[in-house]
């Protein structure tokens, strides 16, 4: 029922949302979160590494937990791996539901868990040098809300 993908190449979030929306016409509301490589701080590129045996299976498990917890018509989770330029999408989560509250909570929960628990390691290129990004305390605060 859920569409969960780990992609090594760029994707088009607008077209993904268009297709997801068209596929869930019984849902009154669709909440989406799009994370992109933001411009600023001198960041030239971002790289996400994953570990094949764990990363996608854990994303699929997360989707199952989200579906168990909220009444959704559809759930979309797309996450990039590899090197991304500024402005490229990193992650797209969309939840389609009859009730708006369910869609908001499901997307929010999915993002908090993707950020803090998913098997991704991130590094940024600044002034030509790659540096690994440590986990942020905010991510653990976010996940503590649930």
């Amino acid at each position: 029922m859920s569409d969960v993908r780990l992609l090594a190449a760029p994707f088009d979030p607008a077209e993904e949302l268009r297709a997801f929306t068209a596929a869930h016409i019984v849902a009154g509301g669709i909440v989406s979160f799009l994370g992109q490589v933001r411009e600023g701080g001198g960041v030239e590129a971002l790289e996400l590494k994953h570990y094949d045996p764990l990363t996608l299976p854990a994303m699929q498990d997360l989707a199952v937990r989200v579906r168990d917890r909220w009444v959704l018509d559809g759930l979309l989770v797309i996450h990039r791996s590899g090197v991304m330029a500024v402005g490229e999408p990193i992650v797209l989560v969309a939840a389609a539901a009859r009730h708006r509250r369910d869609a908001f909570a499901a997307a929010d929960f999915a993002m908090d868990h993707l950020k803090s628990e998913s098997w991704f390691w991130k590094r940024e290129k600044v002034a030509g040098e790659w540096r690994w990004i440590e986990p942020r305390a905010q991510d653990f605060e976010d996940i503590g809300r649930w």
Partner: protein
């Protein structure tokens, strides 16, 4: 006779590569494995891998108690520092 080592995140930088073959004559327990990593890579890498913050997956499955690991020929062992995803 070899196992496969996989270094994720910052460990890749310390190890000098994301993965390496690791020659084995016989199964290695965790203590022996850490000692070998200290010799062949660096004490710093071995310390990090020993810390609670680094998780371990053996043949693609997370290991609850890494002290109990026995690494054998053909195994893949992955060292997973804290994630910083999305």
């Amino acid at each position: 006779m070899a196992a496969r080592l996989v270094f994720l995140g910052r460990l890749e930088e310390l190890a000098g590569s994301g993965g390496a073959d690791f020659a084995l004559d016989a199964p290695l327990d965790w203590t022996a494995l850490v000692a070998r990593l200290s010799d062949e890579y660096s004490p710093e890498l071995a310390d990090l891998i020993s810390s609670d913050r680094v998780k371990v997956a053996l043949n693609g499955a997370l290991v609850a108690d890494k002290q109990g690991i026995m690494l054998s020929n053909g195994d893949e062992i992955a060292f997973l520092p804290p994630v910083s995803g999305g």
